[in-house]
């Protein structure tokens, strides 16, 4: 097939209204990856500049990117933090995150759907949700400790609580914002409440619901450090970062931060973006702006 330039020229000469040309998906993919790499380089450059400035001005041993990457490399090759490998720390954190998120998902989706469909409940029920949303991650620590003491349960609780609010808000909001005309069509067609919910409200709100799930997931991951302060055992990425303030091994802490960022970005960008695209496609929304 022809390239874009030749195809355009040919179409203009031959007076055709529509034409096709060789897709440039490969080029666009390379550009996307290039942009991502440039963006990450920008972060590293900023970090490096700040690190050198701090070393010079304040005389502190601010970890630089090369030092951190060297430590990360050692960790990945099996060096331990607090007697456990980075893999053990990571999988412990991932497991807590998964548990907390799963709980948030079950509670958040069912609450969100109830609040979204029952206006009277929404008016009252959303107030506690907004209150919970305003409680910062660290503030959950005393609550978790009073409820569960030190241990795994408190950690999972904190992750669940921070992931919960955006899931409820977006699920309820998405359902409430379904255009009136969609519900009117179902009502005049004589549909019952369950057909209305499953055939109309849920699909119409699904992009908003996925968005809430995405924000909830990110919230749960970001609260990891705070959540693992109450974990009680010396395992977890957040715990390792938290411990670095005592043993002053900031380079290892930075390496752990890198791992957290890498995992968060991967799940956000790879998993959720493709999930959203797939749902968008299923909903027939991906063709809205096309020819």
């Amino acid at each position: 097939m022809e390239g874009r330039e030749e195809a355009t020229r040919a179409a203009l000469e031959e007076g055709r209204a529509q034409f096709t040309f060789r897709s440039e998906r490969g080029r666009l993919l390379v550009r996307g990856v290039g942009n991502a790499a440039l963006g990450i380089l920008l972060v590293v450059a900023l970090w490096w500049a700040v690190a050198e400035a701090m070393i010079y001005i304040r005389g502190v041993s601010f970890p630089t990117p090369p030092e951190t990457i060297a430590v990360l490399w050692e960790l990945l090759r099996g060096a331990g933090i607090n007697g456990a490998s980075i893999y053990a720390h990571t999988s412990a954190s991932l497991e807590r995150w998964g548990k907390g998120y799963l709980i948030a998902l079950v509670i958040g989706l069912s609450f969100g759907m109830a609040l979204g469909t029952l206006p009277r409940l929404y008016e009252v029920g959303m107030i506690p949700v907004y209150v919970f949303q305003m409680i910062p991650g660290l503030a959950w620590i005393p609550i978790a400790m009073l409820l569960f003491g030190l241990g795994e349960t408190g950690t999972v609780f904190i992750i669940a609580m921070t992931a919960l609010s955006p899931i409820i808000i977006n699920t309820a909001g998405g359902i409430r914002e379904v255009p009136t005309v969609f519900t009117r069509v179902a009502r005049m067609s004589g549909k019952d409440d369950s057909a209305m919910f499953f055939s109309v409200l849920l699909p119409a709100a699904s992009l908003s619901i996925i968005n809430g799930m995405r924000i909830g997931l990110a919230n749960g991951w970001r609260v990891l450090i705070a959540a693992e302060m109450v974990v009680g055992v010396a395992l977890g990425l957040g715990f390792s970062i938290y411990m670095s303030r005592y043993d002053l091994d900031f380079t290892t802490a930075f390496a752990c931060i890198m791992v957290i960022c890498a995992i968060g970005l991967t799940i956000e960008k790879l998993f959720f973006v493709s999930l959203e695209n797939r749902v968008r496609h299923r909903l027939g929304l991906d063709r809205e702006d096309q020819l």
Partner: protein, 261 residues
């Protein structure tokens, strides 16, 4: 007589701002069996409110809405609406959209295809609505509403957002459909020409508060000639009344918003 507004008033109130709007005041309107009734008037004069009352989406503040002698308590497949905006579910294929509104369980696919054939879109049964043009979407919407088997067809500026050419083509299709199926149609439009081309009766509404101003019976056969003496006379009368009535100047913007509540 199929449907009737009996001394209906419709009031919208916004408790937050403390503003109220009388969208309709003391409206009497009887839709006759088999007629093609066009409601015209400037925006804000209560055309859409009237249609929503007939459909059962709204209930009257005073007076009553009757369908075949019974009080209307909500929407029903007997009174099908074609909406102005795109109302197809984008997550369903064209065929599934039509099937969604079909009444009865048997031979669903076959019957939905029949409806699509009526509007000439059977080849697009498996397309998604967003792959269709605006005019095609409205044809599917008509097919879907007909699939409900309505006795009364309520159309709320169905072609208002389409270009002139497409609108004229679809007007003709609706007219053919009406002549073939012998449904009763209530058709809301702000386009006087459209009303004159389609209607057996044209009802002019005016605003502040919304009411029925005057009506014309049109006995001319189709296709109609807008340049005929009668048509020019009626059009002239409608335009002069539109200019005389307060709604031509537009009700206050904040008030018009309330109508959509």
């Amino acid at each position: 007589m199929t449907t009737e507004l009996r001394n209906v008033s419709k009031v919208f109130t916004d408790p937050r701002s403390g503003k109220g709007l009388v969208a309709l005041k003391d409206v009497d309107l009887a839709v006759e069996e088999g007629e093609f009734l066009c409601l015209v008037g400037a925006s804000g004069c209560g055309k859409s409110t009237t249609l929503n009352l007939l459909a059962g989406f709204e209930s009257p503040s005073r007076g009553e809405v009757l369908f075949r002698g019974e009080r209307v308590r909500g929407p029903s497949p007997a009174r099908g609406v074609v909406f102005q905006e795109s109302s197809l579910y984008p997550w369903m294929s064209v065929l599934k959209n039509v099937m969604f509104s079909l009444q009865g369980e048997e031979r669903q696919e076959e019957r939905a295809m029949e409806q699509l054939r009526l509007v000439g879109l059977e080849d697009f049964a498996h397309s998604r609505p967003n792959d269709l043009s605006g005019g095609m979407k409205q044809r599917v919407a008509i097919a879907r509403t007909l699939a409900m088997g309505p006795e009364l067809l309520l159309m709320d500026e169905p072609f208002g957002s389409l270009d002139e050419q497409t609108r004229r083509k679809l007007d003709t299709e609706v007219l053919n459909l009406w002549q073939r199926e012998r449904k009763t149609v209530v058709f809301v439009t702000h386009n006087i020409d459209e009303a004159l081309i389609l209607g057996t009766r044209v009802v002019l509404m005016s605003a502040s508060p919304g009411r029925i101003e005057r009506e014309w019976r049109i006995d001319e056969p189709w296709p109609r000639d807008l340049a005929s003496k009668d048509m020019i006379r009626i059009k002239g009368e409608i335009i002069s009344m539109l200019q005389a009535c307060p709604c031509a100047n537009g009700a206050p913007a904040a008030m018009i918003d309330l109508e959509g509540m």
